[in-house]
């Protein structure tokens, strides 16, 4: 069980460009699954490579269980990285690939063989010992890469985009496999992804990075219910942001005043945010304004309406049956459930 602490971790590849990772502070819990989430080029993989010891940080520190490991070479850190493109050694058999880490540790051949067999059982590919990597599908190669990492019983398992190269059904399978193994072996696991859904489904906690800077480090639902900025809310699919003034549990906007008990700001200029799923059409139950339906799309599992409220446009995702109730151009009451409104600080004070 290893707790990983990043303190002011920074990596700058050259002086002309901004740092790839910028003063990152992160406490990665022991035995948990943590996602490093962010758009491509935000420094996720760089962070991971620094933890693995494959890149030297420009400044800052990395600690395992409170002790700095910066001076420890990658082979002695026990932080094993599984790359996005698997990188099985092409000239080795599957058994040689999986047993590689043990061979490097000069483990006795017989023991390597039994442990390789165990690993193949664990990743549900028994009997694959003598095949070559190119005979395997992408999903199978990924599982072998995972087995190759797990066999050395790492302190920290680092997964780079573990699901992004797989097609939909393999993704579910792999996700379950990772979860199962991680829970069984209780390995501190960090994985990198650009896909917020993947992070939400798989991770215990998510660290969201933009441009090398930590935006929010929280449990998955917090990113939906209480994002710390408009950018974060947008990254997680939030679409409705109405500027206003917040005071005493109420926010006053250009289209009216709304009760909003949940807020990230004390008072003053603020932004009302509400997820499209929390906007209801029809019944006026308080916290409502009249709007006009501009357009709608029937998606099957749900319907998406665009509604104009004076100068402002909001999006509502509703039960698909509602497309039968409303037509474009109709005037409808639009309700913002007070429990689902989240007041954020405005973007300008962000920088």
């Amino acid at each position: 069980m290893t707790q990983v602490t990043l303190s002011a971790l920074t990596k700058q590849f050259d002086e002309k460009s901004p740092p790839a990772v910028d003063r990152l502070d992160l406490e990665i819990e022991s035995g948990k699954l943590t996602a490093l989430l962010g758009p491509s080029g935000c420094g996720k993989t760089t962070t991971m490579k620094m933890i693995a010891g494959l890149l030297r940080p420009t400044s800052g520190d990395i600690g395992f269980n409170g002790e700095s490991i910066l001076s420890i070479p990658p082979e002695d850190r026990g932080a094993v990285m599984v790359f996005q493109n698997y990188l099985l050694f092409p000239y080795m058999t599957i058994a040689e690939n999986i047993g590689f880490g043990l061979k490097m540790r000069k483990v006795d051949r017989k023991e390597i063989r039994t442990r390789v067999t165990d690993m193949l059982d664990l990743v549900q590919l028994p009997g694959f010992e003598d095949r070559k990597p190119r005979q395997l599908s992408g999903g199978q190669q990924q599982r072998i890469a995972l087995a190759r990492a797990l066999i050395v019983q790492p302190n920290v398992l680092l997964l780079d985009e573990p699901l992004s190269n797989l097609d939909a059904h393999l993704r579910d399978e792999m996700r379950e496999l990772i979860r199962r193994i991680q829970t069984e072996m209780e390995i501190t696991t960090v994985f990198v992804t650009h896909d917020q859904e993947e992070a939400v489904v798989l991770a215990d906690r998510i660290a969201l990075l933009f441009d090398g800077q930590l935006q929010q480090f929280d449990v998955p639902d917090a990113f939906f219910e209480s994002p710390e900025s408009i950018e974060i809310a947008k990254f997680f699919g939030g679409t409705n942001f109405i500027p206003g003034h917040y005071e005493g549990g109420e926010i006053t906007t250009a289209i009216g005043r709304f009760r909003a008990p949940r807020s990230a700001v004390e008072g003053g200029d603020a932004v009302l945010s509400i997820r499209p799923e929390a906007v209801t059409l029809g019944a006026a139950e308080g916290n409502s304004v009249m709007g006009r339906i501009r357009s709608h799309v029937y998606v099957g599992r749900y319907a998406r309406f665009r509604i104009t409220l004076g100068e402002i446009e909001v999006e509502a995702i509703t039960d698909p049956a509602q497309v039968k109730l409303f037509n474009d151009g109709d005037e409808v009451p639009v309700t913002f459930d007070p429990a689902k409104i989240w007041v954020i600080r405005p973007a300008s004070s962000e920088q």
């Binding site: 990658p74 082979e75 990285m81 790359f83 050694f89 880490g101 061979k103 490097m104 540790r105």
Partner: protein, 306 residues
């Protein structure tokens, strides 16, 4: 209104595509014909004439019978055997040393560093310098009266230039090997560097992360990945150093001589009867080179397959 029947534009599989293939093959053959002709006439023609002469067929000087006399003479001649061993020694040793140093240099040149372009330019500079110039350089530097010898004398390492170990025209062919190594390092190195850069460092990263130290990662991961390139480059070097004439002629000892020198001298011998022997030696060189290339293809295919 009637629509016109759709016309199938896709050729039917089977006979149609077969004749298409044949036509394609013919086109390729015709396009390659000039090159093939040159190869057949000059290369094969020369080889066949040489082969016939090595068998003692040389009507111009009245030799009309086929026999293996030249080969028997050549193979039973102690001088030839020693020349053969020397030539193999030259080719093998220079190829081995050049390959090892080339891989090492390529590894050093791989990471990004300030002034890398300049260093790389210097590294590959002597690709453009002719072998002969290199040989003259070796003469100036390493002969008994050369720069190194005089510097060593000046530094008091040896009493006089006479005490300098023979490195040119010496029985161990040190001068020749120095020249070949100097010239072939960038040749192999540039190829290996290109492969290293295309393979990338990720495989090594995986290995390091799995617990391999630097050397283990190089030995178990990088080296096998670049081996096909090293083998193919070094076989070219081996074949060249085995058959090249000018460097052993300039820097080699008087006895034993390298095979190409021996063959050339027999060929230019006033005694025309020595011609078959010269040709026999040339044949041996050709066969050896071909064997090397075959062996290379076998080895490299094994790597490519896996």
């Amino acid at each position: 209104m009637k629509w016109p029947k759709p016309v199938s534009r896709t050729p039917r599989l089977g006979r149609a595509s077969l004749s298409e293939k044949a036509a394609q093959r013919l086109t390729i053959t015709l396009l390659l014909a000039p090159a093939i002709l040159v190869i057949l006439l000059l290369f094969m023609g020369g080889l066949i004439t040489g082969f016939l002469r090595s068998l003692g067929y040389f009507p111009l000087i009245g030799l009309n019978d086929f026999n293996f006399e030249a080969y028997t003479t050549v193979f039973t001649d102690n001088g030839f055997i020693r020349s053969f061993i020397l030539t193999f020694h030259i080719a093998f040793t220079s190829t081995l040393i050049a390959s090892i140093l080339a891989v090492a240099s390529a590894m050093l040149l791989r990471p990004a560093f300030r002034g890398k372009r300049f260093v790389q330019f210097i590294f590959s500079l002597n690709l453009t310098i002719p072998h002969l110039v290199g040989a003259v350089g070796v003469l100036y530097l390493f002969s008994g009266s050369g720069l190194v010898s005089r510097l060593a004398t000046g530094a008091g390492l040896i009493d006089s230039p006479q005490g300098f170990p023979a490195m040119v025209n010496d029985p161990w062919a040190i001068g020749i090997i120095i020249q070949y190594v100097w010239k072939e390092i960038p040749f192999i190195g540039v190829i290996v560097l290109a492969i290293l850069l295309s393979v990338g460092e990720d495989y090594e990263s995986v290995a390091r992360s799995l617990g391999a130290n630097r050397w283990q990662a190089f030995r178990n991961v990088t080296l096998p990945l670049i081996m096909p390139g090293v083998v193919s480059a070094s076989v070219i070097v081996f074949a060249f150093t085995f058959g090249a004439f000018e460097i052993p002629w300039l820097l080699g000892s008087t006895f034993p001589k390298a095979l190409p020198v021996l063959a050339f001298e027999s060929y230019t011998d006033v005694d025309l009867a020595a011609r078959p022997q010269a040709m026999a030696m040339a044949m041996v060189i050709a066969v050896m080179s071909s064997l090397m290339i075959l062996a290379y293809m076998k080895v490299s295919r094994r790597y490519v397959r896996s």
